[in-house]
């Protein structure tokens, strides 16, 4: 991972704070601000710790940073931000952005985002990213001054290109399908997981009802009383254990969500390729038609039907001087066009090469991360089973003493 920023600098998003302020329309609003702390790694030697530099940023500033990176590095699969609004919630989770659990998970997600960018071989060298981490005031102005918004492709243009491009690189077409499939399958999985979590919660919590009844029943029993009472206690423990279990699972869900959003980033790179390819095809087509026009004018033959051809038949030919002028203008345009086409071709090939290199890097990262996530899911299930075995072993002992 060469000399990426993550190795030289410690980065954390350590706190979240509720703030009130005034928005663009001078209305009062509440938002959350996140504390970014950084410290150069070299400054730590033999136990002495340099103080951390810190500044506060809100979510919209993270969004601005990511937009800048996406536009400036269209060939890179840019790491995604954690979700803006709580999605895939099951009933116990809050869909409220101000909910402390949501804020906490978002804080972790934002830290993860910064670390991903900082460990990316290309992105970590970006100056705007560096100043995001270190420059407290005036950062927004600096970003806007880069004029990146002007470079952004319009959504409409991109959509148009998707439908009309004739020869996109086959690998990108496959990648596009893959990212669509990935998006669809992960969101389906997250939806069902949320429902499963909901039901699991129900099963555990209902067992909590045993505790009180057993206790009240034990009051009228002589021999059975103790067994009932202690069994009831274990049922309470069982019912309470689900809260921690499901909280851990939320982190697993967040890991999957990251790759759900990564699929969108992949899609963006494919879109950029389609756009460039379409642009190239249009330029080539334009050049071809100009060359044809030139040839027709020079030889006087009309190979294809054209309005010009018809009007000249109806209203008479143009003068030789007029024709000469036209040919000359066209020849100039053709030369320009050929140069442009050459550079567009070069651009396109460079794009494909560097994009594909990043995509390979991304694939490896994805396979590694998802495999680890699945393993951690198995570990969570194992822990849940072990807790269950312990509780029910205890309960069984109490019941057998009734």
């Amino acid at each position: 991972m060469e000399d990426c920023l993550a190795k030289k600098m410690e980065i954390t998003v350590s706190e979240a704070e509720k703030r009130t302020g005034r928005n663009a329309m001078n209305m009062q609003e509440t938002y959350t601000a996140y504390l970014i702390e950084t410290r150069a790694v070299e400054s730590q030697g033999e136990g002495q710790c340099a103080p951390m530099d810190s500044l506060w940023r809100r979510y919209s500033e993270f969004e601005l940073l990511r937009n800048y990176l996406s536009v400036t590095y269209p060939h890179i699969v840019v790491p995604p931000l954690p979700e803006k609004r709580a999605d895939f919630v099951w009933h116990k989770l809050s869909a409220d952005n101000m909910d402390p659990d949501f804020v906490e998970r978002r804080r972790i997600g934002l830290e993860n985002f910064l670390l991903r960018v900082a460990s990316h071989p290309v992105l970590c060298q970006d100056k705007i990213f560096y100043s995001f981490l270190t420059q407290e005031g005036g950062w927004k102005e600096v970003v806007n001054e880069t004029g990146f918004q002007l470079k952004a492709d319009s959504r409409l243009k991109a959509l148009n290109a998707t439908f009309r491009v004739k020869n996109p690189d086959k690998r990108f077409t496959e990648l596009k399908h893959y990212s669509d499939e990935l998006q669809s399958v992960i969101s389906h999985l997250l939806r069902v997981r949320a429902r499963v979590a909901d039901r699991l919660y129900g099963v555990y919590k209902v067992h909590g009802n045993y505790g009180r009844v057993f206790s009240e029943w034990s009051a009228i029993e002589k021999e059975m009383g103790d067994g009932l009472q202690s069994a009831g206690h274990h049922m309470d423990v069982y019912a309470a254990s689900i809260d921690d279990i499901l909280e851990e699972e939320e982190h697993y869900a967040d890991q999957l969500k990251e790759y759900l959003f990564y699929a969108e980033a992949l899609r963006a790179v494919c879109r950029k390729h389609e756009l460039m390819q379409y642009d190239l095809e249009m330029a080539a087509q334009d050049l071809t038609s100009k060359k044809q026009q030139c040839e027709e004018l020079a030889t006087g033959t009309v190979r294809t039907f054209s309005l010009k051809g018809m009007t000249s038949k109806l209203f008479g030919q143009e003068t030789p001087e007029q024709r000469e002028a036209k040919i000359k203008a066209l020849e100039e345009q053709i030369q320009e066009g050929e140069e442009q086409l050459k550079s567009k071709n070069l651009e396109g090939r460079d794009f494909v090469k560097s994009a594909w290199a990043d995509i390979e890097r991304f694939k490896e990262q994805k396979n590694h991360d998802l495999k680890e996530a699945l393993i951690s899911y198995a570990v969570m299930q194992i822990s849940m089973c072990k807790k269950g075995i312990q509780v029910w072993t205890n309960a069984k002992e109490c019941f057998s003493k009734m």
Binding site: E181, V185, D198, L374, I375, A378, V379, I382, C385
Partner: protein, 393 residues
Amino acid sequence: DTSLGEVNSFSPSMPISPASMINQYKFEDEPELRDLFITVDDPESHITAIETFITYRVVTKTSRGEFDSSEYEVRRRYQDFLWLKSKLEEAHPTLIIPPLPEKFIMKGMVERFNEEFIETRRKALHKFLNRIADHPTLTFNEDFKIFLTAQAWELSSHKKQGPGLLSRMGQTVRAVASSVRGGVKNRPEMFTEMNHYMETFSQKIIVLDKIAHRIYKEEREYFNEMKEYGPIHTLWSASEEDIADSLKGVASCIDKCCKATEKRMAGLSENLLPILHEYVLYSEILMGVLKRRDQIQGELDSRIDTLANKKAEKDLFSDEIGKLEDKVECANNALKADWDRWKQNMQHDMRSTFTNVAENNLRYYEECLATWESFLASQTVNLHVEEDSEDRP
């Protein structure tokens, strides 16, 4: 004098000695001495012009002398069980007659002849007859014997005998009359305690029954969602290469846990739910038994009160009073013994049922644990293989 109960059964007109009671108790504890084996199976539906009903096959195997044969096979319908229960209640007003499954199911069932319903009913009827067979007194009841052995036409003709409707109504009227007066006034402390116990027990068992049903319902909903969860991972594995195996592994684990959940649910519905339901019915039965004891006491008390107001001629009625006093004493003793027996059985049933629930859950978690641990092992083996191959130049 019909109020003394039938001569056929173990006659309550004789005071029951403690010694003989102990013998009966021991008899129960040694199942090898059991000499009456009953099974209820093979439900069959019958369609006539008027109605459709189900009959069950009742097979009895016995070595008892009172039975003419050692094996009987008869077919009985629910009505016949109802008849048997009411005859037993008549004969032994203060004994605890086991519960019968209900006539109708309230919610959820549209068809009376749904397979699940019939099976649940069959199991409950089987238990009903066996509980009677195990009961030290009821097992020798003559109507019980006829129920087990008589052919269909014999049974219906026997049913028509016995105290007519009018005299039965007379009994009820007298019982109601005496209950209005009490039987509570002179109630021995022991039975007041029993009443308090039953009030609380009733409440608690009803709540437990509801909780158990809730748990079953939640487990079913969980199972339904889990069924969908596993296959998504298989679907995902189709678009992946490197992680396809891991995804398929997770899918398989989830499917196995899903099956384990189904087993867990089955355990609940086969064991805990029926037992709790029976004890809900038992609590009604016991409240009824306590009431009937009060009524019998009430008869005695009200007679004494009436006679106290009629001066003289006390000797004339001392016989009657004596008989009533005996009746009360027998009823009390019968109830006391049966109560102790019932409590022992209840404790045993609860202990074994809840232990079974715990074992069920343990089995479930152990199965799931094994499945995930083997998946984890397979993943870490692969990781080591990958690491080794990376080390090589």
